[in-house]
Symmetry: C2
Subunit: 560 residues, 2 copies
């Protein structure tokens, strides 16, 4: 399957060998540090797409992009993953929900497919988003190269046929019994192998065809990948000297968060799926450390960011690979290809590669998720749709960030907008079972209470910074509203379990606002450590009472 | 005060007139749409610092930066603020807590001061962060220009003196009585005016000095601002044609979120402070719409992003300006300066401007916040310190983003890591007061219960996407732990009020994991709409029962 490894890299428009450079170190390092028995590490379509936006052409007008920044990204991505693993921060990926992942994946699939469509047509322009590719194709459509189009379309038809053959023969093989004739078994196994190796078959056959055309005098008719550097890359430190540290931060920006997280998400999703199937468990923190080491080690061999690849892992698993050393075999095969096969790569037609990539990625477009969310949870359609649409018009990493933010807003809205309930004091006291007391030395406090213009407010959750300003706003609204005008307010803190400095400051503002209006704001049922915190903050005019009754006692006393 | 307006713009190393370009449209537009009676809109030191990172030199080696991208940022910032206002999203700023704001402001202050220190020394190099400025000064210190240093230091001494005079005279004036002699009142009022106008005084006097030195044959000894374009800018559409839309997104990236939010935060903080002092209220959504319109309108007059300026607002207020039309007067003064005073600007020494900026911004460094948080809320020291340190080593907008993310992690940690409690069924039933029932037609269900290997788990809050994976992990841990091995599990959903698709998927995974291990996972006390959602998701093997008893009835039935 070593050819497949190189294919994805057309997405990033770098020279073909970088795909192979990315495909061996990860296999060796993962074998040592990984916890999944099935994962094969290497470049993936989605990572290629993410990395593609950080590639600039080597020089203006060049067909190939400069891989330096992408290799630095691999190194940085590795360091960030390693640190995340050590700090047990892998669960941060929990903040990327299934709808966001699905929207991102589907948008990536059609962005990659649209980006490859130009190679099917033999066109050449640069595009980072689905929208740009679409516009580019419309603008350049008259320059379509008939040879490339023919090559691309026929490759695609053959690929789809081989895919069907693989699926069918796999089905037949599952129905084999002891009575099945031996020749039939051999034929079906061969068909299955042909179908499984379809990408390699297409790439090999079309390269052969181009070579034949070349020798027959039709050189240059079909666009090919051109010069490929031969041999295994010599290890070298990533090219940090060419970039200022801040330039790296500024150029890579959100990529420094998105690439490590998405890479980890891909790997852990595959790891868990196969672990579930084969009855073992993966250790998430060890996985992200292993991936980090793969990326760091890889960056010394000119590797792009890598992660667990679903297609290669699946093929390994279907091919009957039952040992984690399968990755090592893959790595060795890649090294052998680099050493011996690279001269042949120059004959690989771009349109055939594009056909391989398109048929591979279109499976990632998950339209069913839209239907499913419509049926199950319509609110989740918002992050899905936002992520999907934003990722079509912007580079997918920005689309994902926007999706995550929208999702967080939906999650945090109730925290940022707490419900405030205003009740009459007698109701508040009756509900406060735990704290209810009517001391005998006070003559019917309830009578005093009713004569006193007081309002009790309660908040439905803890007071933290996102809701702090909103709380002051609501308290002032209550104070200024006609219904409650000039009533003193008792703030019942019994449901407030947590508080932070921003909230303390806002409460201090509220007390000042109330004081200015000549209205009192008292606090009751304050938990001990919140009580301490409020006192340490030295808020002028702060008054805390154990219960509503005592606060009212004080109010009616001051009123007299 | 029109000079002050232009000063801040040295921070961004653009030609001086851009400061003035930014200072008039906002005043007029805010007068029409704003709700604060005090705010004066214009460029501020913090916004200048934020914008500075988006300026590239006009050409390599040029002293001035190209303002095009900054003007586009003003336009985009305006559009984003306007949309936020219309969608009532102003409360999003609640997610930037006081410790983060404080860390950001303090770091900005010393970043700006360090950036200006090079002008005090007469050095010339580019730096975006505090760290870069520091390194630059060490590297270039031998090239210090004695004239500039003398000019800068003496300006600073005079400024500090004038600042003290202003403070003292202000104090004396507050103690004036009817008996105070008239001449004393006049002297003190004059001193107060001199102190308040200290920036203009310094700029004016030093420019005069430079002009005298020039005519005396010492031209060029002191670094000045050089050529300034005269006149009021002609309105023009921001230079979008020079940039691809995606280039704008990629270049401005986090600036597109941070600049509109910080600008709004500055304005609303000032607006609220003065509203509190003068007894009125500002309408946050209208404020952000007004700011958005100021920025959009400004960008057509080559303005940089603008917002409410604390120093100018404070001076206006102290000077006795009592009408919102004060801003209009400021705007007209700026236009007059542009028309008539610009020829004089070329004599303003850079070192004097730097001294003005440094004395102004150092007040923003709030070391007391570290002490305060140490006393009141030590957990809040984490976002403060992270934001502060990150903002010194990275451009401040990245530091702020990092601070916000760290703060969110602290806020969301309990949501992402829910507590799961495993209890024995009898305990679970006894605690479930609301749902407790012991039907008479069943013979002592509690006896059956004890004989059945069952465990009840409860989760302490809603099941949402950040905690979904963690929940499955914990359920599987319980299932696999030696203590509970091979016990069926009943998941008590009574405290789960919200659920989303990611959580539904995770529960489905958990059911599959349990089924594979031959252990049952039942759900009880599921709220009606969550019940509906789980059913619509078609989870294979999902079993929901009204209560623990009925789930156990079914388990013991299947066990027999």
């Amino acid at each position: 399957m070593e050819e497949e490894v190189s294919l994805h890299y057309l997405v990033a428009s770098v020279q073909l060998q970088y795909g192979l450079y990315s495909a061996f170190m990860g296999c060796f390092v993962y074998f040592i540090f990984g916890t999944s028995k099935d994962i094969t590490v290497g470049p993936t379509a989605i990572l290629s797409l993410l990395v593609a936006t950080y590639d600039d052409p080597i020089k203006p007008g060049s067909d190939y992009n400069d891989p330096k920044l992408a290799i630095i990204l691999a190194f940085m991505c590795g360091v960030i993953q390693f640190v995340m693993g050590v700090l047990h921060l892998g669960s941060l990926t929990g903040f990327i929900s299934t709808p966001v992942i699905s929207g991102f994946t589907s948008a990536s699939a059609i962005t990659i497919a649209a980006g490859q469509a130009k190679h099917l047509l033999g066109l050449s322009f640069s595009s980072d988003t689905f929208f740009e590719s679409l516009v580019g194709i419309f603008v350049h459509i008259r320059k379509t190269n008939g040879w490339d189009l023919l090559m691309g379309l026929s490759s695609m038809v053959v690929l789809l046929l081989l895919q069907k053959i693989q699926r069918d023969s796999s089905l037949w093989m599952s129905h084999h019994t002891e009575d099945t004739p031996g020749y039939l078994k051999v034929v079906r196994k061969s068909l299955w192998f042909l179908g499984t190796a379809r990408n390699a078959v297409i790439v090999g056959c079309t390269a052969l065809l181009v070579w034949s055309l070349d020798t027959a005098g039709y050189a240059g008719k079909i666009s090919t990948n051109g010069n490929v550097t031969e041999g295994i890359p010599t290890p070298s430190v990533p090219d940090f000297a060419d970039f200022h540290f801040l330039t790296i931060i500024r150029e890579l920006n959100v990529g420094l968060i998105i690439v490590p997280l998405i890479a980890y998400l891909e790997a852990i999703a595959i790891g868990k799926a196969f672990a579930r199937k084969n009855g073992y468990r993966v250790e998430p923190n060890q996985e992200i450390i292993a991936l980090g080491l793969c990326n760091i080690a890889g960056s010394f061999f000119s590797s792009y960011p890598v992660t667990g690849s679903f297609s290669r892992t699946a093929i390994n698993s279907q091919s009957g690979v039952k040992t984690p050393a399968g990755g090592v075999v893959t790595g060795i095969l890649v090294l052998l290809s680099l050493q011996f096969l690279t001269p042949l790569f120059q004959f690989i037609p771009k349109a055939a590669l594009a056909a391989v990539i398109i048929t591979a990625v279109l499976k990632m477009f998950n339209y069913k998720m839209f239907v499913k969310l419509w049926q199950v949870s319509k609110l989740d359609l918002i992050p899905l749709t936002v992520t999907f649409v934003a990722s079509l018009f912007l580079p997918v990493q920005y689309g994902t960030i926007i999706g995550v933010v929208v999702d967080l807003i939906i999650l945090l809205y109730p925290i940022a907008r707490p419900e405030i309930k205003a009740v009459s004091p007698s109701n508040a006291i009756l509900k406060q079972e735990d704290n209810l007391f009517l001391p005998s030395d006070r003559s019917s406090p309830l009578v005093q209470i009713e004569s006193c213009p007081v309002l009790v407010v309660q908040v439905d959750r803890s007071v933290r910074y996102p809701s702090a300003e909103n709380l002051v706003e609501k308290l002032n609204n209550i104070r200024e509203s006609k219904v409650y005008y000039q009533q003193h307010v008792i703030f019942d803190f019994s449901r407030v379990c947590e508080i932070d400095y921003t909230a303390v400051e806002s409460l201090s503002d509220a007390i000042a606002d109330f004081a200015k209006a000549g209205v009192k704001l008292y606090f009751v049922h304050v938990k001990l450590y919140i009580h301490d915190m409020l006192h340490r903050a030295n808020i002028p005019g702060l008054e805390i009472f154990p219960s509503v009754q005592e606060a009212m006692q004080s109010l009616s006393g001051s009123g007299e």
